[in-house]
Each structure stands twice: as C-alpha cells, then as structure tokens.
Amino acid sequence: MDRGAKVFGALGQRLYSNRMRRAAKKEEPATYERLVYKNTSVYHYMSISLEFENEETLSPAQLKQFIVNGLKDIYGEVGGAFPFDLLKFDELKLTAILRVYNSGLVKLWSALTLLSSFDQERCAVRVNQERCAVRVNQVSPFLLALSGNSRELELH
C-alpha cells in the first residue's frame, strides 16, 4: 500500500472498499468494440520556440499579446479574432505549446511564421523593436504526440 493510503486514512479505505465492490459487481469482461473517429480532435496543438537577436525575457501574457498582435497585423481585427490557448511557456528555454481550433490553425501558423519583431517598451516613450523569429517545431491534432517527437532524439 502506498503513501496515499496513509494520508487519506479512513476516507481512502472507504473509497477503496467502494471501488472494490463496484469492481466486483462488473467483473464480467468488456465486450469487443471498435470505433473509428475521423478528425475527432477539434483542436490542433503546436510546439514553438522563440529566437531573439538579443537575450530577452518575457512573461506568458506578453507572449500571448505578441502573437495576438502578429495575428492582427496579417488578418486584421475581423480575421485575427479567434481564440487560442497558450498551454505552456518555458521562460528559460523560450519554448511554448499552443492550442488552437482547427479552423484557426492555418492563420495562426502563418502569423507565427511572419512574426519578425517584438516591441519592447524600455521606457515610457521610446519603443524598442527587437528582431526575433518563431520556429514551429511540431504541429499535431493530438497533444499526446507533442511529447514524443522523434526528430528531437539526439544521440552522441
């Protein structure tokens, strides 16, 4: 028995016995069933990495705003208005995972490719333009596939 059991104590025991009872009730094996889904995922996932000319730091919110601005430049306020999520952002490695609806995939991808400068407000008046590039490492309809990128396999 692992540590979780001790932590949860009585509650855990009760849960456990409940589950055992339920498991005993449907002990009969599952019958074979096969389902084939086409385009089941409504989302596409992208793994991207950022490259700056100079060393930069930015927060997740800044990154998202940066991408939204890029979208607005290319597709305008009407075409660029679609939701996407910044699922994860690694501020040290500057890599991120994005989630977007299938209908927005092409727009987001093209906007990311065309992003070339990052506005960094150093002081209140002057706006510094920092050159940067976004590299799209992997695109997949399954988030699970992003963690198994065989092109990243490095052997020395």
Partner: protein
C-alpha cells in the same frame, strides 16, 4: 467564354453636414476603403481584395458611391465598409459612415435599384412637406428634369437620366 465576374456595392455616404459631401472624390473614398480593409482584414485580406477594386461612380451631391470589386472577395470589402469612420481630404477629417444599399452583379442592376430606391424615398418624404408651395416646388423640379432630359445636378434622379 469565361468572364471575370465582379460585384458592385452601391453605398450611400452619410454625413452630419451635407455640405461636406462636396469634398468627396474617387481618391478619398478609395483611400478610406483601403484603410478600413487593412484594419478589418489585415495585410492578407487587403492584398486579396485590392485587385480589381475601384470606385466606379461617385455623386458628390447625393453622396452615392458605386464600388466595384472581384466577385470572389467582395465579402471582404463588404464587411470592411462599417469600419470607415471618416474621410480625410487635405488634412480635413469628415466623420461619416457608409451605408451599403445594394450589392449587384452589374452596374445596370445597381442603377435600376437606385432609381427604385430614390422613388421610394421621394414617396416617403413627400407627405412630410409642410406647405403646398414646397410640394409644388419639388414636383416642378422633378418634372423639369424628366421633360428636358437635362442633367440637372441638384436632382436626385440624375443617375436615372444618364446612360
């Protein structure tokens, strides 16, 4: 024979002060539409729809504008029109908005629509006349342009008299 199909957007420019309408010209309207396109659809939408986009007809007195664009992308321009908030002319900014009256496949259908539209407007506005003199003045001006076939610049009907 395959023809390159176009769409014509018949719009009316609405301004608060009608004297500002006289400032209108092709370049101003085209510029305003281009800016609205960039704002609403970005570089991508602008590049898509700007080919074949032109101002075909403009009446500075009545504020009627006829825009021509490619059939495949007329929705882009159509949806960008509400984003026009003003016209810039020689440093002067005239606040206005575009009211799209009709979308047609040929100039001829747009013209027919405009004649019908203006007739309706006339019928709607005639009962609002305050006095008999006003009414007769209007009747006179309408009759005068139809009989003489003279392009009376002040008449709302003049688009019907051309062609």
């Amino acid at each position: 024979m395959v023809r390159l199909k176009s769409r014509y957007l018949l719009c009316e420019v609405c301004v608060s002060d009608r004297s500002h309408l006289l400032l209108l010209d092709d370049g101003t309207v085209q510029n305003a539409a281009k800016h609205a396109l960039i704002q609403a659809h970005g570089d991508y939408g602008f590049a898509h729809s700007i080919f074949g986009f032109s101002v075909k007809y403009l009446n500075a007195h009545t504020g009627i504008v006829l825009l021509r664009c490619r059939k495949s992308h007329y929705r882009l321009i159509w949806s960008a029109l509400p984003f026009i908030t003003g016209l810039k002319k020689r440093g002067q900014k005239v606040p206005c908005f575009f009211n799209c009256l009709h979308v047609g496949g040929t100039i001829r259908t747009c013209q027919k629509f405009l004649v019908r539209y203006n007739t309706q407007q006339l019928h709607r506005m005639l009962p609002l006349c305050h006095s008999e003199e006003e009414r007769s003045a209007i009747r006179k001006s309408v009759l005068s342009c139809t009989v003489q076939k003279d392009a009376d610049a002040d008449s709302e009907e003049d688009i019907g008299e051309e062609d």
